[in-house]
Symmetry: C2
Subunit: 210 residues, 2 copies
Amino acid sequence: MIQDLKEEYGDIFEEELINEIVQVGTFKEVQEGYKFMEIGDYIRGMPLLISGVIKILREDEDGDELLLYYLEKGDTCSMTMACCMGDKKSEIRAIAETDAKLIMVPIQKMEEWTGKYKSWRNFVFNSYHVRLNELLSTLDNIAFQKMDERLIGYLKEKARVTKDNIIHSTHQDIAYDLHSSRVVISRLLKKLEEMGKIKLHRNYLEILDL
Amino acid sequence: MIQDLKEEYGDIFEEELINEIVQVGTFKEVQEGYKFMEIGDYIRGMPLLISGVIKILREDEDGDELLLYYLEKGDTCSMTMACCMGDKKSEIRAIAETDAKLIMVPIQKMEEWTGKYKSWRNFVFNSYHVRLNELLSTLDNIAFQKMDERLIGYLKEKARVTKDNIIHSTHQDIAYDLHSSRVVISRLLKKLEEMGKIKLHRNYLEILDL
DNA sequence: ATACCTCTGTAACCAATGTTACTGCGAAGG
DNA sequence: CCTTCGCAGTAACATTGGTTACAGAGGTAT
């Protein structure tokens, strides 16, 4: 755990802070599909992601889903922080997109450290900042793009975070993430295949040239 | 300026911080329609809003607009903070929705104060938190609601922040904010009028019972 | 092998939204 | 008073995306 932590966070946190994290944090290794957090859950801790990818989803009252963004190594969940501050329930769902390693830090330490360590303060501010921009760009996509463009963006982003040009998803999976319907996604994927941009298979698809 | 500041922020900032703000901040009084910030601008300072309403807009490459949310008294612009941190350009446009009073604080003070004053730190964190949730709810509206629901929400919110049941906007104005077209908005407004929820006039409309 | 189940392809249809075009109204200014 | 201009009403049409329904393909379990 210590070497993992140092490797990923050693450059930005001072020695002393690293030690504190090691003392109070708990190491966690989870598998793809693990649900970290459900909408309405109270938040127990703040995750520091060491490896893997976590996807953050929003859901409305009717159960309709929407992918917000991915967390990658070195990221933390600003939503979590936002919730901690107000001692509120989670507004989002977090699911491991790949196997992942992370350290959970008790939320009480958050405020203590923001006073004590400049590096921690910067880290937290920076996380907020990155997340805010991420949300903005998600908003842009939904507000200004049509489904075909959103689909292409989705495939690219998914390939990027998983470092894999094979997307292991069914059409239905994709439809959920984009808050669309299976038939629509099938239709658009077919067009992309006809254009030679992707190759479709059962349960997965290859990205050729997006 | 001092009494305005104390009135609005006296409860959350300690005396010493208030004094610092008075020393380095510049008081500003602007009229409805004043453009605080344009997309691509570098950010000079951080606004502390004392009275009035500022609307925050997003725009894409094609010039299509979208209202993100309103800032009210006691608010600050997290986007500004986010941009300062990275010394980046603004991602948004900010326009006075009503006449407004505010204090501009040089961005260099931001970091100094986050180390020095706990109240400032909490204020900044809280702003991020509020803005993050605001963005989330904007996202919800766009992703999960149809135009008629969004329109109703828009009218309600606008009436709330301006404390006025008369909405002084043309159909085109509304269409811009919702990123729709004038004809669509006219159509939907007409329906709302037929349902007895609003009363239409030239250049403004009355909210009867939304 | 057979039965079953999930995933994909496709067509036909519908609803919501956006677009174009034209009308008339009313305010403002010469 | 008359002209002009911006705003609102409305119809006709196009496009996008969502829905329903069904067929076939491929994998899995018995």
